[in-house]
């Protein structure tokens, strides 16, 4: 077995291991198997004999035993355990590669690892590993073919391997786009994580954590005019805090009158207002988001609901993106719906009153008190997404306020609402999104799951004033590379992870109507925005390659040779002449034939010889040559 083949096998094993190690959930201790694997292959390349049968068998048995332990007690996850198993097997196998077919097992194991990784991760690193895997796999399978055919060298095949890899990559893209997607699973439950918005009727404290890490895009908003403040995309409110969970009990949904997708909620304000064009990804909630104070909404839906707290609902089962235009004043809402529940505090939090009064001592107005509490929380508590669950029976809020003093927005907002309530100021928790990534190229905000936020609204002076006790997350200075990577990640998340049958449909429609005017295509939906340039670029690229190839072929030939070849092709059709005849031999064959322009042909061929091989020739010869070329071409 050639050493190159061994090294290649090793690289594929490494790729498989890498795909797992870069996924979430794997035990990093298994990184230790990699040096062993390298050692095993190194021995193989150096020509040491493979390990003893019993050693390999014994180790495999131990590994299997470990696997059962792993599944039942250590990781308690089948996928992770199988992943661990494959990594150990890779290391063991590396000492035991004997006949040329052993590497096939390694390739197969790497494929399994990749499959496991596909279930464990959604990160873009998978793409990198996958590309490596394609290249390695194509070369390795090719090599195994060569070995099977009895060859040893891979050198003469560098060119076909390169083109093969490129072709396979293109095919992968095409097939990925074309393979049918089904709505639901046929059997069992998907193991992958879907888009969870966290906007249900009941939100338990400590569940937002996962969402805060999710980079999935939720919506894209372009705002007219651009505002200078941090936008709060208001979703729904919660009023009752019970058993460590927020509930929405008093809100009552009303249907908003409207026709042809245009719903008027209020009179337009006289002051400035904001027009927001929003594209909302499919979420598991009916709530829609906008700046507060919506007075008009245009949406392609039959009904629009609004509840007493100002939350808007589109009560349709949505499986595709929703596009709507909201007009907002971005002013605090009126507190005409004030209700007793906004003062509700759970019984076990009786100590909170004293705790809060200590903070607001000496302050008169509710506004001052609220601002002080907001400042107090901002300055004395640490923002953290890693919140340990409280000890059983312990309230997470008490834990947050007194013990750990760290948490994220949900904790801050809950704490502030409850503190306000304890001193008699009605308050509620509002959830939605804050900020977003401003994309100056399209003048819009990209809002992701991780922008999900909870804040506070307190009824002060007849208005629901907004407070946000969460300390602002430190702004991240991003380099150009980071921004570009982020851009790639965005595309990866959108077009690979999030590729759906709707995208397929849209792509199909786009491809089937290439002549449609750009204006008709929804400017802000991404497939059309990017696929057309990509398509155009690839066409141009293909044409360039074709042109270059033609140029290279032609450059090698002189101009007279091109004319000569053309005539030869014509003659080959008429006469039975070998391709490898010289011009003079062709001339002889033509003279002996019954072609009507045979004398011209003979002269043409003679002139070709003169021009091609001759020492010197006159301008007349060239003119005559071209003339003859035209004449022959017309007459044959």
């Amino acid at each position: 077995m050639p050493p190159t083949y061994r090294i290649l096998t090793c690289l594929i094993g490494l790729t498989g291991d890498a795909s797992l190690l870069l996924s979430e959930g794997m035990f990093m201790t298994f990184l230790l198997t990699v040096p062993f694997m390298l050692w095993g292959y190194y021995r193989g390349v150096k020509g040491y004999p493979s390990a003893h049968r019993f050693v390999v068998g014994g180790l495999s048995l131990i590994t299997l035993l470990y696997f059962f332990l792993d599944v039942t007690t250590l990781s308690r996850d089948v996928i992770v355990s199988v992943g661990h198993l494959t990594m150990i097997f890779h290391a063991i196998k590396s000492f035991d590669i004997k006949d040329p077919w052993d590497p096939l097992q390694v390739f197969f194991m790497a494929l399994i690892q990749l499959l496991l990784a596909s279930e464990l991760t959604r990160s873009m690193v998978f793409a990198v590993v996958f590309v490596f895997f394609i290249i390695g796999m194509v070369i390795a399978m090719f090599y195994s073919h060569i070995i099977k055919e009895g060859g040893r060298r891979i050198r003469p095949f560098v060119r076909p391997i390169t083109s093969l890899t490129v072709i396979i990559m293109l095919l992968v893209v095409v097939l990925f786009l074309a393979l049918p997607r089904f709505r639901g699973s046929l059997w069992g439950k998907s193991l992958s994580k879907g888009i969870k918005s966290g906007f249900s009727e009941k939100v338990r404290l400590g569940t937002l954590e996962e969402i805060k890490l999710d980079p999935t895009v939720v919506m894209r908003v372009s705002v007219q005019p651009r505002q200078g403040f941090r936008p709060y995309w208001r979703g729904m409110t919660f009023d009752i805090y019970l058993d460590n969970a927020w509930l929405n009990v008093i809100a009552e949904k009303l249907s908003v009158p409207g026709e042809r997708g245009r719903f008027n909620l209020d009179n337009p304000p006289s002051e400035r207002h904001f027009r927001q064009e929003i594209i909302l990804e499919p979420l598991d909630t009916e709530v829609i988001f906008s700046l507060r104070g919506v007075y008009r909404l245009d949406v392609d839906a039959k009904r629009l609901l609004i509840d007493t707290t100002g939350t808007l609902f589109v009560p349709e089962k949505r499986a595709k993106r929703l596009r709507y235009i909201a007009y907002s004043s971005n002013k605090p809402l009126l507190t005409d719906d004030l209700n007793g529940v906004y003062l509700q505090v759970p019984d076990d939090l009786g100590w909170l009153k004293g705790f809060t009064e200590e903070i607001v001592r000496g302050l008169k107005t509710p506004l001052e008190k609220a601002e002080t509490i907001q400042r107090y929380l901002r300055e004395n508590y640490r923002y953290s997404l890693k919140v340990k669950p409280p000890s059983p029976g312990e309230s997470p809020i008490k834990d947050f306020l007194i013990t750990t003093r760290e948490g994220y927005c949900e904790y801050y907002a809950t704490a502030m609402v409850l503190m306000l309530r304890s001193i008699g100021i009605p308050a509620r928790v509002v959830s939605g999104y804050v900020g977003g990534e401003y994309n100056r190229y399209g003048d819009y905000y990209i809002i992701r799951q991780k922008n999900a936020h909870t804040w506070v609204e307190a009824a002060i002076d007849g208005l629901w004033q907004r407070f946000d006790p969460t300390p602002p997350e430190p702004p991240v200075e991003r380099t150009v590379i980071a921004l570009y990577l982020d851009f790639l990640k965005l595309k990866w998340d959108r077009y690979v992870i999030g590729f759906s049958r709707y995208d397929q449909k849209r792509l199909l429609r786009f491809l089937s109507t290439p002549v449609r005017k750009r204006k008709d295509i929804d400017q802000t939906t991404l497939p059309q925005r990017y696929i057309f340039p990509i398509f155009a670029a690839s066409v141009i690229f293909a044409l360039l390659i074709l042109g270059y190839n033609l140029y290279r072929r032609r450059r090698a030939l002189r101009r007279e040779s091109i004319y000569y070849l053309k005539i030869r092709r014509l003659l080959e059709k008429r006469l039975d002449i070998d391709r490898n005849l010289t011009a003079e031999e062709t001339a002889k064959a033509v003279i002996a034939s019954n072609i009507e322009v045979r004398t011209e042909c003979a002269e043409f061929l003679k002139l070709y010889n003169l021009l091609r091989f001759g020492k010197e020739h006159s301008e007349n010869d060239i003119i005559r040559f071209r003339l003859l070329y035209k004449r022959i071409k017309e007459r044959i």
Binding site: L104, F108, L111, L114, L115, A117, S118, E119, T121, R122, F126, F130, F133, I134, M137, V138, M141, F142, S144, H145, I146, K148, E149, G150, G151, P156, F157, P160, L164, I167, I168, L171, V172, V173, L175, F176, L179, P180, R181, F182, G184, S185, L186, W187, G188, S190, L191, S192, V496, I497, G498, F499, R579
Partner: protein
């Protein structure tokens, strides 16, 4: 054209099915990516072999003369008629000659390559070359495509394989000795008789110069005589009813070797079987005339041997067994070989 799935191919197909099910089931797009990779490999392995094998033209030639069980050179010429595509990694399979196939690494468009392979025909007779196939499992190892090779019209279509010839020097030495001792007196007188004397020509043997006439005329003169009237041998091969076909083959091979040795010693040989008789002659061409016949001869089934040749002169007989119907001629034969004894 026949496509076969290899062991690895079957496993690969199974794996594709499993992954496809998993992908459809989980709607995990990363799994779709892996499925897409596997499917594209599948598409490539199904289409490329056809592209590789298309537009290839073969011609075959064998270095003649051919003898059974003797190594010979078989030349395969491959021409790639495609304008753009290089053909990689395929095999040319010639039944019986190259069962494993001749592996060709690559052939550029428009190029032609020649391969010389050492081969060995196992049996005498006529061999038809036109059953060649090409196979390719390029670029992976999942499928193998086999198809009939396109042969050049100018390619050699069939060849004659002569029977195996082995060294019979000793045997014939013995035999010649008896030839000389037993029949020398009669032969000698005839042999000195020459037909005519003519002028020396280039190419004449110096041994044949007639010195007396040369001295007389002043020019080099040579004698021209009936060479070999003296050294005539009739080889008789019984071609009927052998106890087994191996013995028949043995007898043929022995006869061929014997004839070859005799003609090699400049004897004039007549060859007689139950059905055919080739009159006296000498020289390589005559040998091949006899060998041609021996290459093609088939065992007869008649009981008697329809034999109307008058058997005179020196006779060597190769008979099937002691029960041969030609047994009655053995009395006039110089030597009789039985296939059962060979």
């Amino acid at each position: 054209m026949r496509l076969s799935v290899t062991r690895e191919g079957k496993r690969f197909l199974l794996a594709i099915t499993v992954v496809a099910f998993a992908a459809f089931n989980t709607a995990n797009n990363l799994m779709y990516l892996i499925l897409a990779l596997m499917l594209s490999s599948l598409i490539i392995s199904l289409t490329l072999p056809y592209i590789m094998l298309r537009g290839l033209k073969f011609s075959f030639s064998v270095q003649e003369p051919l003898f059974a069980n003797r190594e010979s050179v078989f030349t395969v010429t491959v021409k790639n008629l495609k304008r753009k595509v290089t053909s990689y990694s395929f095999r040319v399979i010639v039944p019986e000659l190259l069962d494993d196939g001749l592996y060709i690494e690559r052939i550029e468009p428009g190029d032609s390559l020649e391969f010389a392979e050492r081969i060995r025909f196992r049996r005498r007779g006529v061999y038809r070359l036109g059953q060649t196939r090409v196979s390719s499992s390029f670029p992976f190892i999942f499928f193998t495509l086999r198809m009939k090779a396109t042969e050049d019209t100018a390619s050699q279509k069939s060849v004659v394989i002569y029977p195996e010839i082995y060294d019979l020097k000793k045997e014939v030495d013995e035999f010649v000795y008896s030839l000389i001792t037993e029949a020398s007196s009669m032969i000698r007188t005839e042999s000195e008789e020459f037909q005519s004397i003519r002028e020396y020509r280039y190419g004449d043997s110096w041994r044949s110069i007639h010195w007396k006439a040369t001295a007389r005329t002043g020019q080099l003169m040579v004698k021209e005589c009936y060479e070999g009237t003296t050294e005539q041998v009739t080889v008789v091969l019984d071609s009927m009813r052998y106890p087994s076909s191996e013995l028949f083959e043995k007898a043929i091979s022995f006869t061929a070797s014997l004839t070859s040795e005799l003609i090699g010693r400049n004897y004039s040989v007549r060859f007689v079987t139950c059905h055919k008789s080739i009159p006296y002659g000498s020289g390589t061409e005559h040998l091949y005339k006899i060998l041609d016949h021996l290459a093609m001869i088939e065992e007869g089934t008649d009981i008697g041997c329809p034999f109307d040749e008058s058997l005179d002169g020196m006779i060597v007989m190769v008979l099937s067994s002691r029960a041969s119907s030609l047994r009655r001629y053995t009395s006039s034969a110089l030597r009789v070989y039985y296939a059962t004894d060979l």
